[in-house]
């Protein structure tokens, strides 16, 4: 049987999630033995033409050109999996969605008229059908292997969609919210990282995006009780997953109209 063909695509992103693939080290050999890495520019300029059995897509859609390119990627891919906060939620660059992108380009570029960009940074799923969204900023490499393995064998990936608190307790960490009053987004953040931040005495800042059952209004009240101002609530919700619906809707409730110039 021919090895399944794997392609890795980059859209607007920092490359961190692609680096997670290279970072697999030992498992990378096993991966290369199981699948044919047919298209992965970050690793090799040698490419094999499509179609591909599995495409991993990093990055969000921010330009008209990319909006067309993702259609082409979809057409060439039997299965398409997005990897990382940019591809699954629009990434940190989705902060533009809450502001006027023309103002940004004017401020940054000498010739803003050369810049062809969209008003928004949007997740891949807003443009094409996605078979699985793998969250994280960056993705967790064990989860990445699990998804590739599941897709290769045509089974459901074993990726829990509940919150970081479960991993925090399984790891035996002391809850920083309760023991220190530290604001923590763990209760509403999608599991996957293994609750790294609380294990180092920090609150979770939500880099895996919202969990499947995030009670955002209750979380905002809790953050208020922990002393966060309205501005600070907006800021804690608007990072890598600012445009994920649960975080976006809640941050909009706390964003005073006079802040939206």
């Amino acid at each position: 049987m021919a090895k399944p063909k794997l392609a890795v695509w980059k859209f607007a992103s920092c490359d961190g999630c692609q680096l997670s693939i290279l970072d697999l080290e030992d498992e990378l050999l096993a991966l290369a033995e199981t699948v044919e890495i047919a298209y992965f520019l970050e690793a090799s300029s040698k490419t094999v033409a499509g179609p591909y059995d599995l495409s991993l897509v990093e990055g969000s859609i921010t330009t008209p050109h990319d909006a067309e390119r993702i259609q082409d990627v979809r057409r060439q891919s039997h299965k398409l999996v997005t990897i990382g906060a940019c591809a699954t939620a629009g990434g940190i660059q989705a902060l533009r969605n809450f502001a006027d992108v023309k103002e940004f380009t004017k401020a940054v570029y000498a010739r803003p008229d050369y810049i062809k960009t969209l008003e928004t940074s949007t997740p891949i799923e807003d443009h094409v059908t996605v078979d699985f969204n793998l969250r994280g900023c960056p993705v967790d490499k064990k989860q990445l292997l699990e998804v590739v393995s599941a897709m290769t064998f045509g089974r459901k990936p074993m990726i829990a969609a509940d919150s970081v608190c479960g991993e925090c307790k399984a790891r035996g960490s002391v809850c920083v919210a309760v023991a220190e009053g530290t604001p923590c987004l763990g209760p509403v953040t999608h599991a996957g990282c293994g609750a790294i931040c609380p294990a180092y005495g920090r609150g979770c800042y939500g880099c895996f995006g919202p969990s499947d059952a995030a009670n955002m209004p209750a979380t905002a009240r809790l953050l208020q009780a922990q002393g966060l101002s309205e501005d600070e609530i907006v800021r804690i919700l608007r990072t890598f997953n600012a445009y994920a619906p649960a975080f976006r809707e809640e941050s909009e409730k706390h964003d005073a109209p006079n802040d939206q110039c």
Binding site: T34, K169, V174, V178, A179, P187, A213, A218
Partner: protein, 385 residues
């Protein structure tokens, strides 16, 4: 010193604070991993300890709904904190483990169970509520239709050295649940810490032969009647100072008959559905199994890990979760704990340790929610009459 034949189940003796290190050394010499209380990241947690210096000497823990802080005590008590942040549960019912592995070679499939021998553990500093919780988990994991061999192996080798609580916490309600504060069963040895201006001792009460074997190797002296009297007085005082109370009278029926009460919607507005309450509860036993294949397709593994009725996927049946709302999930937790457990296992699933109150980030208090539901039920009853 007491002679060896005086140290037997049922006997009482005294170990001085100065000799406390011996207890840990003797346990280690008998091949036990000693798991005991120690301070870690602002809380008292149960971890493997090497010597008595690791114990939380002079540490108090202050608790409220959604709040936990350590303070300094006025004395040097070793067990002056309230029950630890997490119970002993992770040591018997592991957060995750491999159940079996399958290997493929050619057309043959072979299955193997992991063969790590269970550690031989001595738990030092167990509270009455925690022993009661283990008795409940035993019913689930050892006495049911499908015993869990990993739990059973860990459990049967473990030695339980309990401590009577010298004071009650702000979120404790073992008196309401009839599980404490006095250690009455399930232990091998029980200590009561006796602190006077000029003395610091432990009254040691021997319950089992396994406990006596350890006690025989300790420099014990006979207990004076007034020391036994002081231990009783301490326990009576602790029982009087419970921070919380739960009225269990008719509670099972109230919960089971009021599944549509507005209180469930009220708590659902505050509850984050984060599962912390179930994960710190010493009696919660829910777990899930997952099968994963290796990348090369030559091996697979079945894994078990903690789960909670607060997880959306927990009630997933074909087509979607049966309990899609926070309201339904909170109701499941509380009704299971305080009502359905009684039908299922013969006792309440709550031992009154207060952890679900202290460690709920949203400060939700099971005793207050139960009282609110009771008020609703009583008002509904009055309305009918």
């Amino acid at each position: 010193m007491l002679s060896a034949d005086q140290v037997k189940p049922g006997a009482q003796a005294v170990l001085s604070r100065a000799d406390f290190d011996h207890l840990i050394t003797v346990l280690q010499a008998e091949g036990y991993d000693v798991i005991g209380p120690t301070v870690d990241n602002g809380a008292v947690v149960y971890q493997e300890i090497d010597n008595a210096g690791a114990l939380p000497e002079g540490v108090a823990s202050r608790q409220a709904a959604g709040r936990y802080r350590l303070e300094k005590r006025a004395d040097n008590a070793l067990f002056g904190y309230i029950a630890g942040a997490q119970s002993w549960r992770p040591y018997l019912f592991q957060p995750s483990r491999t159940v079996w592995r399958a290997e493929k070679s050619g057309d043959e499939l072979s299955f193997t169970e992991p063969e790590e021998p269970a550690p031989k553990m001595a738990f030092l500093g167990m509270r009455a509520c925690e022993l009661a919780a283990i008795e409940l988990q035993d019913r689930v994991f050892m006495n049911g239709d499908a015993p869990d061999p990993d739990y059973a192996a860990r459990r049967s080798g473990a030695l339980f050295i309990a401590v009577n609580c010298g004071e009650a916490g702000e979120t404790c309600f073992c008196v309401s649940m009839d599980t404490g504060p006095k250690v009455t069963r399930g232990h091998d040895l029980v200590l009561t810490e006796l602190i006077a201006p000029d003395a610091h001792d432990f009254l040691v009460e021997i319950e089992t032969e396994a406990g006596a074997e350890i006690a025989r190797k300790l420099p014990l002296r006979a207990a004076e009647p007034q020391e036994v009297g002081r231990a009783d007085a301490i326990l009576a005082e602790t029982a009087q100072s419970m921070g919380r109370a739960l009225d269990t009278n008719g509670l099972k029926e109230i919960l089971q008959d009021n599944q549509d009460a507005p209180q469930w919607g009220d708590v659902a507005e505050r509850c984050l559905s984060c599962a912390n309450c179930t994960l710190v509860c010493p009696t919660c036993f829910c777990n899930t199994t997952e099968d994963v294949t290796a990348l090369d397709g030559e091996s697979a593994e079945r894994r078990q890990r903690w789960a909670s009725c607060f997880n959306l996927d927990f009630s997933y049946l074909h087509g979607g979760p049966v309990r899609p709302s926070v309201e339904a999930r909170y109701r499941q937790w509380m009704t299971h704990k305080l009502a359905h457990w009684i039908d299922q296992f013969g006792d309440s699933g709550c031992v009154g340790c207060g952890r679900c109150i202290s460690w709920c980030p949203a400060s939700i208090d099971i005793t207050e929610e139960a009282a609110a539901l009771r008020r609703h039920a009583e008002e509904a009853d009055n309305g009918e009459n």
